[in-house]
Amino acid sequence: MTFVGWLQIAILFALVALSAPPLGAFMARVFQGERTFLHPVLLPIERTFYRVAGIDPAKGQDWRAYTIAMLLFSFIAFLVLYAMLRLQAVMPLNPAGLGPVSPDLAFNTAVSFVTNTNWQSYGGETTMSHLSQMAGLTVQNFVSAAVGIALALALTRAFAKSQSRDLGNFWVDVTRCVLYVLLPLSIVMALALVLLGVPQTLLAAAKVTTLEGAEQTLAMGPVASQLAIKQLGTNGGGFFNVNSAHPFENPNAWTNIIQTWAIIALPFALALTFGRMVGDKRQGLALAAVMAVLLSAATGAAYWAEAAGNPIVAASGIETAPGNMEGKEVRFSVASSALWAAATTGASNGSVNAMHASFTPLGGLVPLFMIQLGEVLPGGVGSGLYGIVIFAILTVFVAGLMVGRTPEYLGKKIGAKEMKLAVLAILILPVAILGFTAIAASLDVGRVGPVNAGPHGYAEILYAFSSAAGNNGSAFAGLTANTPFYNVLLGIAMLLGRFAYIIPMMAIAGAIAPKIKASPAAGTFPTHGGLFVGLVIGVIIIMGGLQFFPALALGPIVEHFMMHAGKTF
């Protein structure tokens, strides 16, 4: 570990800390229907949308209507994307002449992008036409992110209002999110990336002659535009197979910093938006603090493990001074690879600038465990916020009992109904991750997937299902996932991780919204102080640890001890 390494990490956190408050304030204004500097330009467009679609933007929806609208929207998006992938061979903008995507892969990919997971069982440049990338995947990168934010807004309003069933209007929230937040930010970021050397072209590839005189084909395409929303929308689906480790998708340290920032900036900002919308900025800061503390800890742990390197490699006489460099790009440091790994898994983004499977066992444990902690650190756009609010509800329940009061969060009493739904929601992750990994690890169709034997091969399966169920989308690499078995099972895991979580979450919003919002009394446990922050951190770690300790013991943990015992497979 080096001073420069820590400095890189510190600079990134400082950038996020500086940009999140204005972003959060801006989003709060947009989503509460207040005017911003973008309104003169965008308001006419927004109004036109509503007129064409026949939507009354003033009309609120209760939790059922809101959820049904979201499900309908996502289902249609899935059908359209599936059809587009199956038919890409006969559609325009296919300069490389790629064939149709197979049914199981199309299912997996459509689910993956509609659920904001961006798990990629395919290599982008060799599978997807430009039309599929731009009109299919990139569109979903925008709207699936907007859906996540919209849902978080609905939950936020449940806590903000007293005795109301109105959670806002799904169509309005999605429209505003795309129009005022995601599009402007993406345009600015894409332009910046182009300036820094990321290609943006509709040509298929460039043929170049290398110094040795060999002919080489360099795949290209509209990279910058997809890259911006890939990070901002916590999507993570790369244009190229190796994602942001590719020199065109992440050419230098500057693009690396911008992208890392873009991965976590919006989820952090949304926590602050939450605070503003519920009428107490400190509440948002507390949630952001929980995210920041755990994300820093994970970054530190990954950096420490990677910098320590692999004793077996060291024993064979190979220089390991910078730490474990296997699977890392030399243009990025160990520190910025560790930071990216923690950020992309903490944020349910899933893009990578290094191969997580090549991390040391404990270094690889960090991104794996970050996903298993529930994708709330800071989580995906929107999904991170509603996820951490569920943890906050669980926390105030136990804390409320311990101070001898019926638990309440933000003035809303938490009762049996909310607990039932919260428990239902948190059950999804262990069922999808552990259940499906157990199935894959014990069936032959699953066991052929991993490249490696021993605990590492098992970790590849565990990581894949964690990534899918957590709607993260990053791959541990090493798993041959483009088989009907994995495509279908991972697709189901993604669906469960998204929708089986959202429905109870929205039901909680529906149960909370009509309750009286009590003004804080002296005996109420304050949910904005350090104690609460510490307690939520404890709940997140303990819940994650209790669920996944045995599973992790069989993978990275035992692998770590074996590495130190000099045992290989």
Partner: protein, 677 residues
Amino acid sequence: MIAKAPKSASLSDAGMIARAARDAVVKLDPRTLARNPVIFVTEVVTIFVTIIALRDLFTGGPAWFSAQVAAWLWFTVLFATFAESVAEGRGKAQAAALRKTRTQTTAKRLPDPKNRSRVEKVGTGELQVGDHVLVETGDLIPSDGEIVEGLASVNESAITGESAPVIREAGGDRSAVTGGTQVISDWIVVRVTAAPGQTFIDRMIALVEGARRQKTPNEIALDVLLAGLTLIFVVAVVTIVGLASWSGAVVSVTTLVALFVTLIPTTIGGLLSAIGIAGMDRLVRFNVIATSGRAVEAAGDVDTLLLDKTGTITFGNRMADELIATGGATPRELAEAALLASLADQTPEGRSIVEFVTDKVGLSAPDMANRSVTFVPFTAQTRLSGSDVEDVRYRKGAVDSLLKIVTGAAPADFTDAVDRIARAGGTPLAVAKGDRLLGVVHLKDIVKPGIKDRFAALRAMGIKTVMITGDNRITAAAIAGEAGVDDFLAEATPEDKLNYIRKAQAGGQLVGMCGDGTNDAPALAQADVGIALQSGTQAAREAANMVDLDSSPTKLIEVVEIGKQMLMTRGALTTFSIANDLAKYFAIIPVLFIATYPELQALNVMGLNPDTAIISAVIFNALIIVALIPLALAGVTYRPLGAAALLRRNLLIYGLGGIVAPFIGIKVVDSLLALFV
């Protein structure tokens, strides 16, 4: 300041323990256990392991290991049911004492309440609501009711424990009587207000026995969380089979069950109902009867407490507090005159003047034996009283009445004093000797000693106190300031009280109300927690959801504490239970995969013997339930600290303690086992 509850049957009572142990076995019936999801699941998997142990016996499997695990799992379930039995057992002793009051089987029913000579003897069980009964000296009052005629002294020690008889009479605020109490003198006609089996004593018995105990809302929510955790551990443990199959490891089902049971929150699951029963029991020992556990729990949430001024905050009678001599009279002159004017006055005000002059001023009561004295009693017309001592007129009374009988205008310092007293919320009482005005007595509502501390304690708990009074604003403000309440409601009508409560509730606040009069009944019913005083009217008692048998208006402090304590005990033990899991993983996981991955022994931080590690964890898990029964029954100590301080304290003890304790406990058990194997 906080009263200590009388001690109940002790845990060391051998007879009771034996009874509880017997009940614990009866409670193993899965149909009754199903109410408690965690322990029910434990019993199911225990039966499963028992079958495995039996199978192993015949197939030559590791029967000894399975049998040991099975035995300790049975103990785990038994200890949980035992905890509940112990909690119930304490209540049963009280219930038996209460039942004795129902031994009388006949009542004197009056077919015509106006005619006391015609009496029908009927069984008390036949009495219906609306029947009238005659109760005479020596009779037990057959049922709850309202006195419609007569006056009697009643011994209520059966329910209040207070042996001094109290007066109960028709009309007014002291007309309610309770079944099971005894008339000591005189007679009364009582209209029955409770259906058979629904009387106060019946409710009390049901309460202490825990027979009809309903789960409280927070208990249900906690049950959901515990069931959810159990489900999560089902997933976490069952999937181990599949996960381990990757490396070809075969894990023993018995070991997995052992891991499962030690992980699920058996500690809190086993003690949950004991905590609830013990909480209600504690309430009864504080002489409060609650209609439901829900009300007790709600008491722990009260944000605002409404208290009637008279009799609650103040003694209820105005008392002399100061003598102000005016118009050139000396203080001694005034004191003597006030004393003589009050000597024969038996009103509380009069007595307080005598007391004040003799105690504070230091005059002794003059010898009246040889003097001719005529007493002039107070009447509503004259609004003054006094005495004529050998032709000298001593009078005291309302200022305007006195001014009529004295000569000349009131001196300036007299009117000043009167104004000052009125501004301070007091009552000025003028005193005259002959036709000369001597000064003023300042009568004021005296705030009960110590009440300010009680309100401070409530404030520390986060509860706002509001005084309700019929007095004008000035008087109310003065007393409110002196008593240290946070707010007051002056010139309050029953509607005002109701509106005040509704407004607070609309803001999401939980309101507690303490009252005794019939005019308090609507407010008591509207309040989330209504406490009626046992001495109050039947209407108030029915509208309230708790009745305080001691008629102590600040009893709510204890009720709040008990409510909070119940929640805190549940929260603390839940935290403890979950925190325990860390050590259990470290004990069991290394052994679970020992054949495939001996490297995982690095996780065996406790240095347990692989042969006994699992059984040690199971034994610890079972014993901790027994070890915590006393805590479940006594409850976690409540201190009126802020919420954050309270949480920090409990987290330290039950969170951190919950992580550390099993590491030590399991190691100790394992070391002890090493002595035997």
